[in-house]
Symmetry: C2
Subunit: 478 residues, 2 copies
């Protein structure tokens, strides 16, 4: 009896010790910890997708296809090597729905969490804004001090806020979608499933379709397309934006600079992108260029929205003009808002780069926007993020070009789509592409979702701050 | 008699007044003045190339072909819509040789001159280093003060130094090339002409060929290719580097940060580029991938050097693997050294971007290199240059894709080659390409050579410095 008691105490002690060690690792190496957790989630889903229960035919799915699917789901990308509507069983479909929610909510929380803990080590103090705007009071007080211990429990409140807002938005989208799907004569329960699926896929910017036909029945339907555009656009703005808007929707003077930059940038890209698509596709009978003018506008608007990183497609994108595909490459690379379900280098990152160029051309000392001055160290972070993205895209495109021998136009499109977790496909992704190509694209999706700064932080060894300053010297550039 | 005298005095007065007004315009709007002068030089050469005397067949060359040639020559690009070796008369050949010298020396001087005068208005103080390193004593004293008038006469000393060093390098190259060409059995005077032509074309990074065969007779010749590589590589380093090296060649501790960054960057790109070309082309029988190993190394090294912006080609570049072409795109976009005959965004610009990313990842406050601290405002200039380049390339590629309907791989290659005044061709440039395409590529070469910062400075209206500081706010990025 005494021995048994001692043994139970011992077990509890071991458990506590394991938990302590995880906690200690998370506190010491938060970026590495986040990446390990996120990679583990992807791997668990890969194993589940590979099981015979997940497939409609009861056969085990080949590992690389299961992994590709898992990464595409958890990273809310939307590229697929199998037909998502037919290949999976109900269990597989459930995995997909749970996966995109875990992926989007999980990553957002992880990002904000990392914002808190990584900031003090990296000096990325601006990342704290995400946390402060989600009302985590301990962060409100200012920058977390070096000695302050951060524990896993801190993310609880943040997570709750994120989940509530996600579910609210998604429920609203279901209400908007359901009547339209019922109108098609779909039975109620099936319609509810489809509406839920479309709602999740649009708000999380995932881009998978619940049915074999996909969006074909609604290809020219203004209501359905508008609701999906709304879901994708709002989903791509990001949580820091919602929280400010929910409190101050009618009071733009209280909007933060981040909110103004994100909304202006996203709206600008939406309108400009649509205009360019409209002009470039005029007269192209392979896409929408010969439909009536109203439809041309609708299709151009839809296409522009989906590059944010929605990933729904109404057309075989390789039928677009190559010029339109290049425009898509650029729009996808930019992506959506910070701390959102969208990918890419983010709208504000691009805005900062342009604000820097404008300040330089005007000979101003400071970057300025909306009557506010932007501190110069943010430019350095924006450069890091962009350079990291460009490097990943360049390396992966070079390798995939070499492996697949497909045209640059298609390969570049697919790589950027994967990197920016957009999910629009030029057709390069397929079940019979080489395994190495599947592995590389999976890796691109994963890296793109984790984000360059987080990864670089994880890889960089701990550095002591310099206590001396080196002599200054100015090289020439340009 | 009195009337005649008054008339002469009047003429002198008018002349002085015109000169004064030009001088005043140059002092008030130095960037606009420089662009007007440079554009005028291009136009003069276009008119001369269009005359019947310039063509071998005594016929007037169509204007757009003459303009394309003039811009390609004066911007030391090397793309051509006519066969440069056969289309032109001796007068036309002379125009080409004079054009590349005027273009390279002229632009360099103009750049340095602008460095002096634009700096005080733009706060681009680092540009002054170019001037200070060429020993213009008035700049030595420090940043030119706002009230100090700048006159055209100041560029005299600078111009003399540049011309002397260019001619010395080019004479040395002629001496190295001449024996090899004589060995081919070419008569002495013709060999001297060819050696001079190759020398000018390699050192100015122009890339035209004096003969119909071009480099075909020397396609595997280590001596000839090595000399051309040397010419292109040294030419691409830039004048600020020469002047420091000439005084302190054996004393690297006295090299400036600019010299160290340029030499390290250029050497790194040369070696890394060659390695990647070697690996990607292994086994490609359409290029050099099936030659003996020594030749494969030589060809990879040659190809890597020419992307700096030499522009000589030994192969039909569309026969390279698409992956190699993408690598070429990137290397060309980077280009050579600042204030050199090479184009692109420049090696130091890329270095600054990477140093910023490294500092960010390590959590350092300052960008550092070779034991020196780099002031953060240089990052803003590097971002401006890069963003400008990327925008030009993106817009021009989109337009050319739309006009020519050629594959992205070829069009992107040609546009970057034109922007970076590299002159390697994927085959898109030809006499029968649409006039709009010729005009757009001409514009790309011109804009690429003038440089984004200069152009932006010219376009921006005068700004009064702000006397107040706006409140600071930090948006999220990445
Ligand atoms: K997506
Ligand atoms: K060139």
């Amino acid at each position: 009896m005494a021995a048994k008691l001692r043994s139970r105490n011992h077990e509890v002690a071991v458990d506590a010790s394991v938990f302590d060690r995880i906690n200690s690792f998370a506190a010491r190496y938060p970026a590495r910890f986040a990446i390990v957790v996120f990679a583990a989630i992807n791997l668990v889903f890969a194993v589940l997708f590979a099981t015979p229960w997940a497939a409609a035919d009861g056969q085990a799915t080949p590992f690389w296809d299961a992994l590709f699917t898992a990464v595409s789901v958890v990273c809310v990308t939307g590229l697929s090597v199998v037909d998502m509507a037919t290949h999976w069983s109900s269990f597989g479909d459930a995995l997909t729905l749970v996966g995109v929610e875990v992926g989007s909510v999980g990553v957002l929380t992880l990002t904000s969490f990392l914002g808190m803990v990584v900031a003090r080590r990296l000096g990325l103090r601006q990342r704290l804004m995400a946390a402060s705007e989600t009302n985590v009071s301990r962060v409100r007080g200012g920058v977390v001090s070096e000695s302050q211990a951060i524990r896993l429990g801190d993310i609880g409140q943040l997570l709750r806020l994120v989940i509530i807002s996600v579910l609210t938005f998604e429920f609203a989208l279901v209400l908007l979608l359901l009547p339209r799907i019922l109108l098609e004569g779909v039975p109620f329960l099936e319609a509810l499933y489809q509406a839920t699926y479309w709602s999740f896929m649009s708000f999380t910017n995932s881009g998978f379709s619940p049915t074999v036909d996909g969006l074909a029945p609604y290809a020219t339907d203004p209501w359905m397309l508008s609701v999906l555009m709304l879901g994708v656009f709002v989903g791509s703005l990001g949580f820091p934006v919602y929280f400010v808007l929910l409190r101050n929707l009618g009071n733009p003077r209280h909007w933060s600079l981040h909110v103004k930059l994100t909304i202006t940038g996203a709206t600008g890209l939406f309108v400009l992108g649509a205009l360019v698509y409209f002009l470039l596709e005029l007269g192209n009978s392979e896409s929408w260029g010969t439909l009536d003018p109203g439809q041309q506008v609708l299709q151009a608007l839809f296409m522009s929205t989906m590059t944010r990183s929605g990933g729904f497609a109404l057309h075989d994108l390789s039928n677009l003009n190559q010029s339109s595909m290049l425009i898509t490459d650029m729009l996808m690379f930019i992506g959506g808002g910070s701390a959102s379900t969208a990918g890419g280098i983010k709208v504000t990152t691009l805005a900062i780069l342009f604000l820097a160029a404008i300040a330089e051309a005007r000979g101003r000392r400071d970057m300025e926007a909306f009557g506010k001055r932007i501190p110069p160290d943010i430019l350095r972070l924006a450069v890091s993020v962009t350079l990291w993205g460009a490097t990943i895209v360049a390396v992966m495109t070079t390798l995939l070009l070499h492996i697949t021998k497909e045209p640059l136009s298609l390969v570049l499109f697919e790589v950027i789509s994967a990197f920016a977790t957009c999910g629009l496909s030029s057709g390069v992704t397929s079940q019979d592409m080489p395994t190495a190509a599947k592995a590389l694209l999976s890796l691109t999706m994963l890296i793109g979702r984790i984000g360059g700064v987080t990864l670089a932080a994880a890889l960089a060894s701990r550095q002591r701050p310099r206590l001396f300053s080196r002599p200054e010297e100015r090289p020439l550039v340009g």
